[in-house]
């Protein structure tokens, strides 16, 4: 078990008029090497959960364990946890603070005590992988466009080569190519290096495309937790809690409603799968066996 939440509650500003019970009795565990999507309406508690992951927030009750040890216990080094669990925050502005883009991305590796040579190597490789070339190295992070800031923030975390990568809406502000390339890269790291990934997203299409498992939050409560395919069969419940299902799933459900039958085992979650199934249905009919 890599990360485990046991009956975690989090209350912001307890016993004040602003008291907000943001996370309510949430339990789950994430194995090393899983790719988990974390979904939920705005204000459902996703970012709060994420800040609990690496000890930025302490549970009001319950506990968060990393490889079996409670991260709030004294023998745990926060510094170590933070280099092992890399977090890309929802607002990239909150993690960019150095004077140049290159220095910013070096910050993590530097903090880990790596030699300067290696800091730079890692930073440059990470910047290249998020599509920022040399012309960006000496720019101030504050001069970057919205999507460029996002890319720089992601590079900063990638450069630390963490064991687990927690991404809070990483694709917000990215253009479609950047989104596909960066999430594609993360999937590759997941496949090849066994990286553990938690991806917060408001895009059902994205969750369907990348996550094996999804956890759905609703008003601070964990409402669904299961294989992606299974969770997206709950179209009605998901839309009642501010979410929905991927576009392809909606299209198949409209077609079924209008009497077009498809086998139960088609892959409705991916474009490729949808194209295959849609094509086969028409070809079978033309071949005479409907």
């Amino acid at each position: 078990m890599m990360i485990e939440f046991r009956n975690v509650d989090y209350i912001y500003e307890p016993e004040t008029p602003y008291e907000m019970h943001a996370v309510k009795n949430v339990s789950f565990s994430i194995e090393a090497g899983e790719f988990v999507g974390l979904l939920g309406h705005t204000g459902s508690g996703k970012s709060t959960l994420i800040e609990l992951f690496n000890g930025l927030l302490k549970p009001s009750s319950g506990s968060v364990l990393f490889h079996g040890t409670d991260i709030s216990s004294k023998e745990v080094s926060m510094k170590e946890i933070r280099s092992k669990i890399g977090i890309v925050f929802q607002y990239p502005e909150h993690q960019l603070f150095e004077t140049t883009v290159l220095r910013d991305v070096c910050f993590g590796p530097k903090n880990m005590g790596l030699p300067e040579e290696e800091q730079k190597e890692r930073a440059k490789a990470a910047l290249t992988s998020v599509g920022l070339d040399e012309s960006y190295y000496e720019m101030s992070p504050f001069e970057l466009s919205g999507g460029e800031k996002r890319r720089a923030a992601i590079a900063g975390v990638l450069a630390m080569e963490p064991e687990a990568l927690i991404l809070d809406e990483p694709s917000a502000g990215l253009d479609p190519r950047g989104r596909d390339e960066i999430l594609g890269l993360i999937r590759k790291l997941w496949q090849e290096r066994g990286l553990t990934v938690v991806l917060v997203s408001h895009s059902m299409d994205e969750a369907a495309k990348y996550a094996q498992r999804v956890i759905v939050m609703h008003e601070g409560v964990k409402t669904f937790d299961g294989p992606t395919r299974e969770v997206f069969t709950h179209a009605k419940e998901l839309s009642e809690i501010g979410l929905g299902v991927p576009s392809t799933v909606r299209i198949f459900s409209m077609l079924r409603e209008r009497g077009v039958a498809f086998p139960a085992d088609i892959d409705e979650l991916s474009i490729d799968g949808a194209v295959q199934a849609l094509l086969k249905r028409v070809q079978d009919k033309e071949g005479g066996h409907v």
């Binding site: 000496e138 466009s145 990215l174 950047g178 408001h202 501010g242 929905g244 392809t248 299209i251 009919k285």
Partner: protein, 284 residues
């Protein structure tokens, strides 16, 4: 006369070294000429760094042309005397709502705009209530903007502009952090403001599906306008859009892939409903 008239607009950013010399130049806008009629709903697409936010800031007179001219309702942004009028007429919702929250309470945040332009007090509160209702944030009236979630902040920022009843609203990725239902609500709000109150909408977005009901889609690439047409025409250029870092809505993509494999589907499918209708015909 068009509401927004942009003539051969150029914008350069300069970077200086310690001794004050220019160490680098970035041409963020290159020879942009556009004219937007009052009452239209315009979507702006483009890869990261293509110049969308820079263009928006010109319309709001936050940036001045390095070369060329921007007229809002006939007023030149370069004339300092016009700036306040221009900002009143062209309200802007910025890319990061975090940067534009100043009040302690949501209600005050939304009242700030109308107060500034001298709306009478009773009417201010009416407008505040109405705009919060439109974005679904009435329940958070008395909350502190600091303590809202990302999506909630975004909606408050939109309410803040709506309450000023401007002629034109420019929104820089307003739905980037909203959940699917929130996104739909904001889009519906924008279309309602456009249809009922004839407010001109300029929507910058990375979500292709948000643009299918726009009157017009403008595509930017490296500081230039490269496509400018109705959504159906723009999204017919699947390969070109991809080469420019963009994409097409999922139903358009499905139709495109199926056509490539020999199915007879019509051109110009944008919505899920259109796709389903067209596909049904093949199953008859």
């Amino acid at each position: 006369m068009a509401l927004i008239d942009i003539h051969h607009l150029f914008h350069s950013f300069y970077r200086y070294n310690e001794s004050g010399e220019v160490a680098g130049t970035k041409e963020a806008l290159r020879d942009v000429t556009l004219s937007i009629e009052a009452g239209t709903f315009v979507a702006v697409l483009g890869h990261n760094g293509s110049g969308k936010s820079t263009l928006a800031k010109h319309i709001n007179a936050l940036f001045l042309p390095s070369k060329g001219q921007v007229l809002v309702d006939g007023r030149d942004t370069k004339d300092a005397a016009n700036v306040l009028l221009i900002r009143r007429e062209a309200g802007m919702v910025f890319q990061n709502p975090d940067n534009q929250m100043i009040a302690n309470v949501v209600e005050e945040e939304v009242a700030f705009g109308p107060e500034n332009i001298g709306v009478p007090t009773e009417e201010i509160w009416e407008r505040v209530a109405d705009s919060l209702e439109r974005v679904g944030m009435t329940a958070y009236r008395m909350h502190s903007p600091d303590r809202l979630s990302g999506g909630q902040k975004q909606r408050v920022a939109i309410a803040g502009i709506v309450s000023m009843k401007p002629q034109c609203i420019i929104l820089d990725e307003p739905t980037a952090m909203l959940d699917p239902v929130g996104r739909r609500e904001v889009l519906r709000t924008l279309h309602e403001l456009n249809e009922k109150e004839k407010i001109t909408i300029l929507l910058i977005t990375h979500h292709m599906d948000e643009t299918i009901d726009a009157d017009r889609v403008i595509v930017m690439d490296d500081g230039e306008v490269v496509l400018d047409d109705v959504p159906r025409e723009v999204f017919a250029h699947v390969d070109e859009l991809r080469s420019r870092g963009l994409d097409v809505p999922v139903p358009t993509q499905l139709a495109y892939e199926l056509k490539k494999r020999g199915l007879e589907l019509p051109e110009g499918i944008l919505s899920e409903e259109e796709f389903v209708d067209a596909y049904m015909k093949l199953c008859k």
